[in-house]
């Protein structure tokens, strides 16, 4: 019963949030000066008045804004995200085409940051004042302080000219149409730098957080008990302490998923990674309203789902939460 009510309230809250996001985005997007027909006229190098009026009517831009919002909401409820003004293609299709790239980038960055960050944090918590811990702290501070796009650009400079072992733009080699294993390896090769630059900030945060949390847990009574029982250091550290210390890191991970998506926009733009972030960014420049709204709607749903999943993860890691 409790679990069902939990799921239901969260779902309703989520829906209300999505509605608010759609309305807010709609208003914001339309507040930007200029409209999509102007952009299309620009891409065409000029345009006649008749054609412009025709496009306005076709896109429904001649109707008052509240009517446009109503029409849009009506369509969204039916699962129809509409057509991109710029590409004349269904927005759902454009998003579907870009989702794998963004997921690949974001998940590999987040997981990488989580695993490596926690490991570094645990390592530095073993001897909090040792040289390794100091080194990790310095690196973490640098990683935390550097903006994502700057990190990306520095990586590009390093790997484009000094050490050309990784490609610096795109998701596939420009001329490649390779499928299968060769294609996958090609994508992985391209993934390294963007994932690294996106991961670095979070990696730094997670390592700091894991370190602090580990130190906190290592000082508690049950650890002393475990040690007194004569358990091996390894077991104490990884089985007893880590499991408790990792909770705050998971909280951060869930909460920050939205941030990571936002960071992905920068990284995708810097590395020309063909994901949702770049699509959203370029669509803003083109005033391609349906595409912008579609991407934002999709992202907000992803963030809400991720938060739900985080809640569920808590219950797996810390069984006490279930009964609370």
């Amino acid at each position: 019963m409790k679990a069902a009510r939990f799921a239901l309230t969260h779902l309703l809250q989520g829906l209300a949030l999505v509605l608010a996001v759609v309305v807010l985005n709609f208003v914001l997007v339309h507040a930007a000066p200029g409209d999509p027909v102007e952009t299309i006229a620009g891409a065409s190098g000029g345009m006649s008045e008749e054609l412009k009026a025709q496009l306005r009517t076709q896109y429904g831009l001649d109707k008052p804004l509240p009517v446009q919002l109503g029409v849009y909401l009506g369509k969204v409820v039916q699962g129809d995200l509409g057509y991109s003004y710029f590409f004349n293609l269904p927005v759902a299709g454009l998003i579907a085409e870009r989702v794998p790239a963004t997921l690949l980038l974001v998940l590999s960055a987040v997981l990488g940051a989580f695993v490596i960050g926690t490991t570094l944090g645990v390592l530095s918590s073993r001897k909090p004042n040792g040289w390794l811990s100091q080194l990790i702290t310095v690196l973490a501070l640098i990683g935390f302080a550097a903006p994502v796009f700057w990190m990306g650009m520095m990586l590009i400079i390093l790997f484009a000219s000094v050490l050309p072992i990784f490609p610096v733009a795109g998701m596939r080699s420009v001329a490649s149409t390779a499928d299968g294993l060769a294609g996958a390896l090609d994508v992985l090769h391209h993934l390294v730098l963007p994932a690294l630059s996106l991961a670095l900030v979070y990696l730094a945060q997670y390592s700091r957080l894991a370190r602090a949390s580990m130190l906190d847990v290592l000082g508690s009574d049950f650890i002393r008990t475990a040690r007194a029982k004569g358990l091996a250091d390894r077991v104490v550290l990884y089985k007893h302490a880590l499991r408790n210390a990792v909770l705050p890191v998971v909280t951060m991970l869930g909460l920050q998923f939205g941030n990571v998506l936002a960071g992905a926009i920068l990284v995708e733009t810097v590395f020309n990674w063909p994901g949702l972030g770049r699509l959203a960014f370029e669509s803003v420049l083109r005033r391609d309203y349906p595409t912008i709204l579609g991407v934002l709607l999709f992202s907000s749903i992803v963030v809400i789902v991720m938060n739900l999943l985080t809640d569920l993860c808590y219950r797996l890691i810390d069984p006490r939460i279930k009964t609370a």
Partner: protein
């Protein structure tokens, strides 16, 4: 004369130069184009789709001219060449153009190309293409037999021949695009595109890339030389430059940033050419809003023109890659004239003119205030010149505020609503003046749309000259009309012409036959090869 040392030296120099040219030309001529290979073209322009019959602009034209063939094509001297049409004739009264189509030419799906397809395409372009003046007078296309198409027009329209170019007149298969769906939104504009050009579509990922492969049954035997053409779309010009330097990208058209050009010029791995942009005729200029005071006063406009040193702009701001523009038609066009009203820099005279016109400076040395806008995204051409203009006008007592726009739509809205005093602008001639020049000066084209006559310039004499020139068959007579038009416009100055945009095509050394016809990168790459 040859006895004077300078002329002897000059003669010797020219001899050496011609000798060098000979030795340079010989191995190039001896090199046979090679079959095979993949050409990677980098571009910052995102095509909406690939159907150039309903979408103008660079972005669609680059892949579009590979996929679709047109009745005619043009060489680097503005001469029409046979393409889908083997021969053609513009009637003496200028009201019909007869195209005799090549026999045996087929579309990518193997179906033959007939006059029906030509008729369908031309009427589709007339109905849908953003450049409404291009096919404006066309009434119908007659098809007496499968290989003859006669374009009938209501008035003499010499621009129709140039309008047969690959970038402007793609021939669509009627059996695919004539299914009754709205052509502007036709699903086959982006997927399963079928044309008759040298390459056929393999993949179109919107905003990412266009992959095309050799069409084996292309109607010109032995062509194209390349197996594949990939257009890699990257909004970030810097990463395209990097790609070119790394050798991932072979050709980069439409490069105009002086710092990039300077860097590429010193790179032994690449070649630079400014050729191939004569057709598009890209101009950079300063436009006035004549509805606003005091810009409605011709003396103020002349004083401003006198304060702007176009040579400084092209030499210092654009590192010598650009050339100054003195009139509304680019110098590379056959219709350009030298007989223009020119405004050599003279700050003193400019100040005196403003004084005489009654715009006295106040105690702070300021006469009046103006704003200047600029098109965002091409800073080297637009923002820098706007800043320079501000500095120059300050010297003659005009306080200028530079207004930035966040992005293209924001700027375009200011232009369309005529909410500006002065703005830098970036406008293409598009080959025939009828397409790209008339629109800026005709009083009938003062419209709430970007790249119309947003200056609100109106002169009945100019209207008459342009309308007559547009329908004159005799090239020489047309030239006379356009010459008079150019003189009037440079005298009345709705616009201060600053420079020709220094577009260059940059290509790796292994690229042979870099496209340098008047439409350059917006023409078929059937003769391009990789060494």
């Amino acid at each position: 004369m040859l006895n004077s040392p300078t002329s002897r030296r000059r003669a010797l120099a020219s001899l050496i130069v011609s000798a060098c040219a000979l030795t340079l030309a010989l191995p190039a001529a001896a090199q046979e184009p090679k079959r095979g290979g993949t050409l990677v073209v980098g571009t910052t322009q995102t095509p909406r789709h690939l159907n150039g019959a309903v979408q103008s602009g660079i972005a669609t034209a680059m892949p579009g001219t590979q996929l679709f063939a047109s009745p005619l094509r043009f060489d680097d001297q503005w001469n029409a060449q046979p393409y889908l049409a083997e021969t053609w004739k513009l009637a003496d009264d200028g009201k019909s153009l007869t195209l005799n189509l090549r026999k045996g030419a087929v579309f990518h799906d193997g179906k033959p190309i007939t006059s029906e397809d030509v008729a369908f395409s031309i009427m589709a372009i007339k109905a849908n293409h953003p450049f409404s003046t291009m096919m404006g007078p066309v009434e119908k296309v007659e098809t007496p037999d499968a290989h003859t198409a006669i374009i009938r027009m209501s008035a003499p329209h010499p621009a129709i021949v140039l309008a047969m170019s690959p970038a402007l007149c793609p021939i669509l298969p009627k059996h695919i695009y004539g299914d009754g769906q709205d052509l502007k939104n036709h699903p086959r504009n982006s997927a399963n595109v079928v044309g008759s050009g040298p390459f056929k579509l393999v993949e179109f990922s919107p905003g990412q890339r266009v992959v095309m492969e050799r069409f084996d049954k292309f109607f010109l035997p032995g062509k194209p030389y390349l197996d594949k053409v990939v257009m890699s779309i990257t909004p970030d010009a810097a990463s395209l430059m990097l790609g070119l330097e790394r050798g991932d990208v072979h050709m980069l058209p439409f490069v105009s940033v002086p710092t990039d050009l300077r860097r590429l010029k010193d790179n032994p791995q690449v070649t630079l050419t400014p050729r191939g942009y004569e057709g598009i005729g890209p101009m950079n200029w300063l436009a006035f809003n004549l509805e606003r005071k005091p810009l409605s006063d011709i003396k103020v406009r002349k004083a401003i023109a006198m304060a702007i040193d176009t040579k400084f702009v092209t030499k210092a701001l654009m590192a010598g890659f650009a050339t100054p523009a003195a009139g509304p038609i680019v110098a590379s066009s056959p219709f350009a004239t030298n007989d223009l009203v020119r405004y050599p820099v003279d700050l003193k005279k400019a100040a005196q003119m403003l004084d005489a016109a009654g715009y006295k400076a106040d105690s702070g040395g300021e006469r009046f205030k103006l704003t200047i806008d600029y098109l965002p995204g091409v800073d080297d051409q637009q923002k820098l010149v706007a800043e320079y203009t501000r500095a120059q006008l300050k010297k003659i007592g005009i306080a200028v505020e530079v207004r930035a726009s966040a992005d293209f739509p924001a700027w375009a809205k200011r232009m369309a609503t005529h909410e500006f005093d002065m703005s830098m602008d970036f406008v293409f001639n598009w080959g025939d003046p009828v397409i790209g020049v008339h629109r800026t000066y005709l009083s009938t084209n003062i419209k709430p749309i970007v790249w119309t006559n947003t200056q609100s310039y109106s002169n009945p004499k100019v209207d008459e000259l342009l309308n007559t020139a547009g329908s004159l068959l005799d090239v020489e007579k047309r030239k006379v009309h356009y010459a008079e038009f150019q003189k009037i416009v440079t005298d009345e100055l709705p616009i201060v012409f600053v420079n020709v945009v220094p577009y260059h095509t940059v290509a790796g050394k292994k690229v042979g036959n870099v496209p340098v016809s008047i439409w350059g990168p917006m023409s078929p790459y059937d003769e391009v090869y990789l060494k």
